[in-house]
């Protein structure tokens, strides 16, 4: 299976351990990632879109065309990139006038969007194309006894009609993928609420992040699983700030799904940067599943 790889700015620049985890785990799964060096920011579906929506769509369209020209579909590894690319393709495929308008802009750089490309998050590709059993078959050290609560975040699943991944109110994809690598998914009450990272001019980010953390704390877990670098940011540096401000009295290590997969595939935790996280996932560092 060959895909155009869309690593995204935040992961490439701020959290390269996530990119390392992806690059080191996918060969085992029969996935080949093709790098396209001319890719710019997706662009970000919150701030850039909020100031210049048509520019946002145009730059996203350029990224879509780059994969179209390579004759490949995208895999993304950040929920924000996934949302931008999937929504941009949806808007352009759905509205001929809008597509003509954007193509007029793209013509200035000799490009044209044709509507042949799909963008999906890698976790969706693992479920739908690789298959859960095939993922399990790559596991050498199952994460037995590791209790993990999931934070879904928003943009992997919503808007539902565009993302077409799972029921955003009752998703199971993340828990299914955790079970596939031997971990124990643990339910909690605020599983699908937003981390709050995009709110501005208010104290909503800390209220939402705190609500998620307290819900997960009550579930008594070793790790919280995330699938998006923005959510990770909220629960990594964001959690440290909250802990100081509100004297939380607990800490929960956030870990990106593909870092968990890497450890389950037998890679050392250091190879995917887990030893450098601000809140260290001790359960993985001491040798998960080694028993």
């Amino acid at each position: 299976m060959k895909y155009a790889f869309f690593p995204g700015c935040m992961i490439q620049i701020r959290y390269p351990q996530m990119e390392a985890a992806v690059r080191k785990t996918v060969p085992e799964l029969g996935i080949e990632l093709v790098d396209l060096p001319e890719l710019g920011c997706c662009p970000d579906p919150v701030f850039f879109k909020s100031l210049h929506k048509l520019d946002w769509l145009t730059l996203a369209a350029r990224n879509l065309v780059i994969a179209e020209r390579a004759g490949l579909d995208y895999v993304t590894i950040c929920s924000g990139c996934t949302e931008t690319l999937a929504e941009a393709a949806h808007l352009l495929n759905d509205d001929a006038d809008l597509r003509a308008r954007v193509n007029e802009r793209l013509a200035t750089i000799d490009m044209s969007y044709e509507g042949t490309v799909h963008a999906r998050h890698l976790i969706t590709v693992l479920r739908d194309e690789v298959g859960l059993d095939a993922v399990t078959a790559t596991v050498k050290k199952p994460l037995e006894g590791v209790r993990i609560a999931v934070h879904y975040g928003c943009h992997l699943l919503k808007p539902r009609a565009i993302m077409q991944v799972d029921d955003p109110d009752h998703p199971t994809i993340f828990e299914d993928m955790l079970a596939a690598i031997g971990a124990t998914p643990v339910d909690h009450t605020e599983r699908i609420i937003c981390c709050g990272k995009s709110c501005r001019d208010c104290d909503l980010p800390e209220q939402m992040t705190r609500t998620v953390l307290e819900s997960i704390h009550a579930a008594d877990v070793d790790i919280m699983g995330v699938i998006c670098p923005s959510c990770f940011d909220s629960f990594d540096t964001g959690q440290l700030k909250l802990a100081r401000k509100f004297k939380l009295g607990f800490s929960i290590p956030p870990v990106y799904y593909f870092q968990l997969l890497a450890v389950a595939q037998g890679l050392p935790a250091e190879a995917v940067g887990l030893d450098r996280h601000k809140i260290k996932p001790e359960k993985l560092l001491v040798g998960a599943g080694a028993g």
């Binding site: 700015c9 935040m10 490439q12 620049i13 701020r14 390269p16 351990q17 990119e19 390392a20 690059r23 790098d35 060096p37 001319e38 710019g40 920011c41 662009p43 970000d44 919150v46 701030f47 850039f48 879109k49 909020s50 100031l51 210049h52 929506k53 048509l54 520019d55 769509l57 145009t58 730059l59 350029r62 949302e83 808007l91 809008l98 007029e104 802009r105 793209l106 200035t108 750089i109 928003c154 919503k158 808007p159 539902r160 009609a161 955003p168 609420i193 937003c194 709050g196 995009s198 709110c199 501005r200 001019d201 208010c202 909503l204 209220q207 939402m208 609500t211 190879a271 995917v272 940067g273």
Partner: protein, 168 residues
């Protein structure tokens, strides 16, 4: 946010201006059912943010309330729950994003957001590359970050700026 006690004269000019932003006209289909509110995380934690009330203010064309300096729209979490819930396909989140676009045009942008967007315009990326970035990537065995040719992205943004102008 309130629509006040006085009889409201609808400001159609503002609604037309909003309608020019992509998906800003979805609000025309809003019948004020409130389905967007129940699962809105921002409405849950903030008394100032209520997507139904924002849609109502837009329907009246209460410009100052929705794009003035005290507009609550930047409290939106961008979670897309209202997009999924709305029975009329209003896409309240997209109407709110259109309102933010108008705020940007009026020069009212929250601290930090303009810096982030300027950075993206200048580097093509939405995060800042430092020497530590390169070092960390190398330690993890990752390929170097590709040098980005900014020319195509600049050209696209320039094409946007001159759109609608008569060719010289």
């Amino acid at each position: 946010m309130s629509v006040g006690d006085q009889p409201v004269k609808i400001n159609h000019a503002f609604r037309e201006e909003l309608g020019l932003v992509l998906e800003g006209d979805g609000v025309n289909y809003c019948y004020q059912c409130g389905a967007c509110v129940g699962d809105c995380p921002s409405a849950r934690f903030s008394e100032d943010f209520n997507p139904r009330q924002i849609m109502l203010a837009v329907l009246y064309g209460l410009e100052d309330e929705v794009v003035g300096p005290d507009s609550p729209v930047w409290q939106c979490s961008n979670c897309f729950t209202c997009f999924d819930r709305c029975p009329q396909d209003v896409k309240p989140i997209e109407v709110i994003i259109a309102l933010k676009n108008l705020m940007g045009e009026r020069g009212i942008v929250p601290k930090g957001v303009d810096r982030l967007v300027d950075g993206l315009m200048q580097t093509g990326r939405s995060a800042k590359v430092t020497s530590a970035t390169h070092r960390r990537r190398e330690e993890l065995g990752l390929p170097p970050l590709p040098e980005l040719d900014l020319e195509p992205m600049r050209k696209l943004l320039e094409a946007a700026e001159t759109e609608g102008e008569e060719p010289e």
